[in-house]
């Protein structure tokens, strides 16, 4: 099956930044080994854009995000992130994996985990500067991590750990954010905080690719991709989120 999705996302609501193309793919094929999930994807995202990937577990959202993060090779076609191969601009791209919570007892405080987001800038030897500390402090405040910043990671609840890892991603102050289910395990307040973070990051020109199974996260997106081991729909939210598409994607209609 070969489908073309020639999407041009010039409908940026935010005019404060000159829009530059940040993520571009041509005839991109994505999958594991011989198992193709997305075929012949033509994608062009500008600064400030939000691409929301919607689908159930195993639908291919994480596979696409990992390909954009440079953790999985593209099976065919070309893809560039900030003008070069995925994974080659670690200072400018930050990736939040699904379930980043570590199972064993790491002797790290939440604050230390957040500060690890700066390692891409610091490399092996550079000492932390005031800029790094400010970025860490800012990320801690915005994610609501302050109350438990000095507690060891292993003593935190699942939701608190998720906030900590999100703070780590923000502390990098990247130009592209690849977020795999950032609201997993969060309560309602946490979900609102994530929505605010996404809005403010976009306002400062950050391109975001967000995987979720919550349809509400898709309504403010520039483009939405519905996945079910293949692309069910791909386009602006008003078109992509039709009842038919949602039913094909999830097997039932979610209220939205």
């Amino acid at each position: 099956m070969t489908m073309k999705f020639p999407i041009s996302t010039n409908t940026i609501t935010n005019t404060m930044h000159t829009s530059i193309c940040t993520i571009k793919s041509e005839s991109l094929t994505v999958g594991h080994g011989h198992h193709t999930i997305i075929d012949d994807l033509h994608l062009q995202l500008m600064s400030g854009d939000l691409l929301t990937l919607i689908g159930t577990n195993g639908s291919g959202k994480s596979t696409l995000l990992k390909t954009l993060a440079g953790l999985l090779p593209a099976l065919a076609g070309s893809v560039s992130v900030l003008g070069s191969a995925p994974g080659s601009s670690p200072k400018r791209v930050a990736y939040l994996p699904q379930h980043p919570v570590s199972s064993h007892t790491l002797p790290l405080r939440a604050r230390d985990v957040v500060a690890m987001g700066r390692y891409a800038h610091l490399g092996l030897f550079r000492r932390e500067t005031a800029t790094d500390r400010a970025a860490v402090g800012d990320a801690i405040t915005r994610t609501g991590t302050s109350n438990f910043a000095d507690q060891p990671l292993r003593e935190l609840s699942g939701g608190q750990q998720q906030r900590t890892h999100l703070a780590q991603v923000l502390s990098r102050q990247a130009e592209v954010l690849l977020l795999d289910e950032p609201t997993a395990g969060l309560d309602l307040a946490g979900k609102h905080a994530v929505a605010e973070i996404i809005a403010s990051e976009r306002a400062r020109g950050v391109t975001i690719v967000l995987a979720t199974h919550d349809l509400q996260d898709a309504e403010s997106a520039t483009v939405v991709m519905l996945l079910a081991q293949r692309i069910v729909a791909f386009g602006p939210p008003s078109q992509a989120l039709s009842d038919d598409n949602v039913r094909t994607c999830f097997g039932f209609t979610q209220p939205h």
Binding site: L71, Y95, S102, S157
Partner: protein, 289 residues
């Protein structure tokens, strides 16, 4: 002082005891640094494989009258290559393949040693070390090993800590995971080679893992964990040697036994404290959907 001090005298009146103490403290420090990363990354099993895999090399070296260290270096290189190939290519779980590889190497070591006229003496020396026969030049090599391990730790601290959370995190932070994984294996190999003379290849894992694991239970920061591991290892060295002297028991075994006991006591105490803490301050869980 007339009656003598049983806690100090064994070391002041015997040079071999002084050498043994210095050697085992150096080993404890090397193991504290390497063990911290090994425990954080969950590499204990690979450490065990490396420790046993060096046996045939040492056995061959001894058979030909060469320094055991040379044989250990060669076979550690073989083991590390084998382990990294297995980890990448194996269709079996890497545990199974690595386990078979190391037991095969160990068997080869036993075969080689059995050609030696002093079979029992040689194999005992390799497996359990010869702490009371440590020379000044051995101490020099241990110091060199400590310096190398410290330098590697300073260079690779950040990628090592990232990899202890997730390899992908290290990769997306711009660090080469294959390179730093290999560097960690080198770190473990140096530790094994440096330690086999004092505690032996069978027991080195105890010094590598037990103090660092105790540190992981208590510490809130990686640097604190390493410091605790160093203190535990040093305490185990001293107490183990003291017990070995007074009760005429094997030195290497005593040290490792004390190290594992210290870990056990720490694990029990921290579990009891954590339980109490849970009773006093109930955890606030966010809702999962």
């Amino acid at each position: 002082m007339l009656a003598g001090n049983p806690f100090i005298d064994p070391f002041t009146s015997n040079e071999f005891m002084r050498h043994a103490l210095v050697a085992s403290v150096l080993v404890a420090l090397v193991c504290a640094v390497a063990g911290t990363y090994v425990v954080l990354r969950g590499l204990s099993f690979v450490g065990d494989a490396l420790a046993h895999g060096v046996v045939p090399g040492i056995a061959t070296a001894l058979l030909f009258g060469v320094s055991g260290v040379v044989g250990a270096v060669v076979s550690a290189a073989v083991m590390m290559t084998g382990v990294s190939v297995i980890t990448r290519k194996s269709r079996l779980s890497s545990d199974t393949a690595i386990g078979l590889f190391f037991v095969g190497m160990l068997a080869l070591g036993v075969i080689i040693t059995s050609r030696s006229r002093t079979f029992v003496g040689d194999i005992t020396r390799i497996l359990f070390g010869e702490l009371l026969g440590v020379t000044t030049s051995d101490l020099g090599w241990l110091l060199v090993a400590l310096v190398i391990v410290a330098i590697v730790a300073i260079i690779a601290h950040r990628p090592f800590v990232l990899m202890s959370i997730d390899d992908g995190l290290a990769r997306t932070s711009g660090f080469s995971v294959p390179f730093f994984h290999s560097l960690m294996l080198v770190l473990v190999a140096i530790t094994v080679i440096a330690s086999f003379q004092s505690v032996g290849t069978l027991l080195v894992l105890g010094m590598l893992i037990a103090p660092a694991a105790a540190g992981a239970l208590v510490a809130r920061r990686v640097s604190t964990m390493m410091l605790i591991a160093a203190l535990y290892g040093t305490a185990a060295s001293y107490l183990g040697l003291l017990a070995s002297y007074h009760y005429d028991i094997a030195a290497g075994g005593s040290i490792v036994f004390v190290a594992v006991m210290l870990f056990g006591v720490t694990a029990i105490i921290s579990a009891v404290l954590a339980h109490r803490h849970d009773d006093e301050v109930p955890h606030q869980h966010e809702h999962h959907h």
